[in-house]
Symmetry: C2
Subunit: 207 residues, 2 copies
């Protein structure tokens, strides 16, 4: 029995499949693409577009969508300041696991506070790519795909980011996406910019 016990202990410490091995299998480097911006700025659309672009190249990615996670992992959280911070912390921790698994993890959350985003960045300082969807409030409100701005303006949602709760833009992010001459780039063009960045930084080829 003691032999089994000992060999088990040694094996545990030696556990030989790590991030490096998974990255080699996938021929890419695990990282987190963190998309932040106002509701309606196009975060989810961009996340899907990046995912499609990566898939067409043979790269494995996974989208963590703030809204979707509130139906699962974060369903026991509300929208008070403390719960919002915990929401972002959990997504950051899960994104870190996905990056450790070797995937390009695309997190898409309003994540309005700099402090919360920076805490996630601190978990993965060398493989955290912050993408700021810098779209003006009037554009986001005009889109209002989910009808949330209308509800917030009618006073039916309190603490709505951009209206009665602040959005703190990144002071320094890896990629900023915005309109040029009043024209919004297509999702494909914006995704291309992100994927090019990943390629340049060596996340997509480890050969």
């Amino acid at each position: 029995m003691s032999t089994v016990g000992n060999s088990a202990n040694i094996f545990w410490h030696e556990c030989p499949v790590g991030k490096q091995e998974r990255q080699k299998l996938l021929n890419q480097k695990g990282c987190v693409v963190w998309i932040t911006g106002l509701s309606g700025s196009g975060k989810s659309t961009l996340a899907c577009s990046i995912s499609r672009e990566l898939h067409s190249r043979g790269n494995l990615s996974y989208v963590l969508d703030g809204d979707n996670l509130r139906h699962g992992l974060n369903k026991n959280l509300g929208f008070e300041a403390e719960d919002r911070a915990e929401n972002i912390r959990r997504v950051g921790e899960v994104a870190k696991l996905f990056a450790d698994a070797g995937l390009v993890c695309i997190a898409s959350l309003i994540s309005p506070y700099r402090k919360d985003r920076d805490a996630c960045r601190a978990m993965l300082p060398e493989s955290f790519i912050e993408v700021f969807m810098n779209m003006p409030l009037d554009l986001c409100e005009a889109r209002d795909a989910k009808g949330l701005y209308k509800l917030a303006r009618a006073g039916k949602i309190k603490g709505f980011t951009g209206l009665d709760d602040p959005y703190e833009p990144p002071l320094k992010c890896e990629i900023e996406l915005s309109r040029r001459d009043g024209i919004c780039p297509t999702p494909g063009a914006m995704a291309g910019k992100v994927v090019s960045y990943l390629e340049e930084k060596g996340f997509l080829e480890t050969k």
Copy 2:
């Protein structure tokens, strides 16, 4: 602007990279291997051994270790009944995400209560493989690699599974691993049994 808004909305609903596409890329099916058993029963060792075996076959897996997650995602949870349930719920939710990403997710947690394990199973009824490390308490306590049984016997840990808190064995699990004639199979042999099961059930080849 409205065109951009519309195309963005359509794109969101059409988001074309789903579980099927990722599984095809990886040539495997996402699933959760949930290893349950007493402290010291060999769960972590088995998890690593399965991961190594899968990697050698070219399959992508990821281990969610209960102890490790308590340093990250679950670091704000204690060991009271409610926190234990929340601990398992979160691991179940994250395991579900990994399976959706196309990976073989290996979760290794004592997970002593049937109700909590069954709640995780209910999230993924067709791709949840429960593995019961059915090792006797005296063997686990004799190993005591972490020194926890000693602390519990000395009254320094309260509510320790198997001593003063119950372990509810699965009533029906996919795989049960135990000693034969008093001999404990090697981690490699036990991992082989799990991997063979995954192969038989079609999780490792989608061609």
